[in-house]
Symmetry: C2
Subunit: 346 residues, 2 copies
DNA sequence: GAGCTGAATTAAATCGATTTAAGAGGTTAT
DNA sequence: ATAACCTCTTAAATCGATTTAATTCAGCTC
């Protein structure tokens, strides 16, 4: 039901109106305002008149009419797992920043791990004319029709550029740090498989552990299988771990949220962090530096990952033929208070 | 520059194509598919044929052609101060949830307190055909052309519905809690004026303090004048406060982020929270429960505020004539570990 | 002065869907 | 038998901009 408040959008100035005002044709005005090749032979004098009139009347071309002809929408679609958590939101903020600078808009949809929504959404977005898609922490299953950039995407697909953290490097940074602190019995938290980084991060950890001579004890490994944006992500699994009564001196959590949950679980058990157990996080979320103890963590430059994704996608949309199937982003180890020298067992 | 990858969007099926396939006219097919009144006299048999063909050919009406006629975009604009922080992102998540259920999309722009962008953005969004606008933590200055809902908006304007927390109630909850714990020398952090809640929250605190017999000491009041999404929002101002050497037993921070920063500053000074100083936050961000000490805070149901905003706006867009100029949301006091009985001075 | 060239502009087709006025063909009432 | 009325369908206008083909009018040449 069309609701038209009277006087809401005052008389809209169309191209025709501008042309009439000038005693010219819409075609002429259009040509001039778009600097199209057919405006070649129009004298400067007329061009000036047209431009002046457009400004004076505050002419704004109708976006939909224009799109109908041109097939350009300057809009991209963002498909995220969630938008309100500390992982996705800085990424989206980064995206936004870059897109707006290049005068693109974006439509956001959130699937919250519902596989049905996921496929329907890319359909819907494409009906809305998005020229490309950026996914965030979302597993793309089949080669998409539109140019796509997948943040934390790990499946190699035609037409998709994956923006991934260099997990190998992250593992090296993290494990070497723990090794230098003489930790040998290290507990690990594996991410929920719905988190698209979970597998790669774990594989990298296993590989690097082997290389630097650390053994991973399955009994000191817990698998996260909930999907919570709060530290509850780590709390119960650390309890689980403690219940096994297998001593360890450090935990490498799946991310900062789960690290914070882990610390709480440890403290409730009377264990001090880092004196008794060191805790290592991942991500470096805004709160990490101010938690007490502040978190030692592997920083993912989330904001920047968003920017890089946006840039890669726009370059492709605007004509770049060749595109990388993967762009690796360098992590960084941020040493704070939650890790310390291994003291003894616990 | 239009880039058309061959075979990217395969042959698009237009209304004309469907009509041709059936040996009918676009007009007929359109009427049937839209159940328009002019399809009254079309026999059921034909209607079935048309619907079947549309499904079979997977016909998808062109959104832009349709919008050009109908003037409906089923899109709204979201103007936020930021999108990556713990205040805005749950709100936007709530918005998204509601909008998607009613089949609306949204375009997001972030102004990061740049007043020039702010006015340009509402212009741009309206050119993109948004049917209404939701602002988040953004001060709207003049009555907008489009139906608008302002989350944490405080200026009464024609055409705008403000979604506000009941700050009076929040102040009652918070101050009574502190009073019951026998706190008398309470320090306060005033929010940065760019935060649209800052003034109202402060005014409510002053009013309520008077009512329940608490005095607010200007020397125990600090004004936040930075705009940081991290706990750095509170840290330096607490240092400032401590430098005044004026004793106090509790701090009511501007929000959880600043509360966390405050705790850190206190701890560095050798003060224990809550034994020496109680700290009261605001918002109840995801990390609040897991900070150590966990934060006592006034919860704002951010997610829900997003939902309410979306609902209010869509109802208006879809024809509701009368709309409230303000909707108050009830806060809730969440008591955790960061507040305790007042011990003595510090 | 017929023909040509080029500058300046216009008319008309197009994008894809919606909507209104207008037929065509058949049946019923007067 | 002619108007009056249905029923079913179509043609054409419209939304607002872009683009291609066509047109007008100078000025110039031979």
């Amino acid at each position: 039901m069309q609701v038209k408040k009277p006087g809401q959008r005052p008389q809209v100035i169309t191209l025709k109106a501008v042309a009439q005002h000038l005693g010219l044709t819409p075609g002429t005005v259009s040509a001039v305002l778009n600097d199209s090749p057919s405006a070649r032979s129009i004298p400067q004098e007329t061009k000036n008149r047209i431009r002046a009139a457009a400004t004076e009347l505050n002419y704004r071309p109708n976006f939909f009419a224009r799109t109908l002809r041109n097939k350009r929408t300057y809009t991209i679609g963002v498909i995220a797992e969630e938008i309100g958590d500390s992982y996705s939101s800085p990424i989206i903020s980064g995206l936004e920043q870059y897109l707006r600078n290049r005068d693109y808009f974006f439509l956001t949809v959130v699937h919250r791990h519902d596989p049905v929504l996921l496929s329907r959404y890319s359909q819907l977005l494409s009906e809305r004319g998005v020229e490309g898609i950026i996914t965030v922490d979302t597993t793309v299953q089949e080669a998409p029709m539109l140019p796509t950039v997948a943040i934390a995407g790990h499946k190699k697909l035609k037409g998709v550029t994956n923006i991934v953290l260099d997990h190998e490097r992250a593992a090296v940074l993290a494990l070497n740090h723990l090794k230098e602190l003489h930790h040998e019995r290290i507990a690990f938290m594996r991410g929920n498989p719905v988190s698209s980084d979970a597998k790669d991060r774990w594989d990298a950890i296993c590989r690097v552990a082997g290389q630097i001579g650390l053994t991973i004890d399955p009994e000191l490994t817990v698998q996260i299988d909930t999907d919570d944006p709060t530290p509850m992500l780590g709390y119960p699994f650390t309890k689980q771990l403690l219940a096994r009564h297998k001593p360890f001196t450090a935990i490498f959590a799946y991310n900062d949220m789960s690290a914070i949950g882990a610390i709480r679980a440890l403290q409730e058990q009377g264990l001090r962090v880092p004196q008794d157990v060191s805790v290592l996080g991942f991500d470096d979320i805004p709160g990490a530096a101010f938690h007490s103890p502040s978190l030692t963590t592997v920083r993912q430059p989330l904001n920047r990952m968003g920017e890089v994704a946006a840039q890669t996608l726009l370059d492709r949309i605007e004509g770049k033929k060749e595109y990388p199937s993967e762009i690796a982003i360098e992590p960084e180890l941020v040493v704070r208070e939650s890790t310390a020298n291994a003291r003894g067992s616990c």
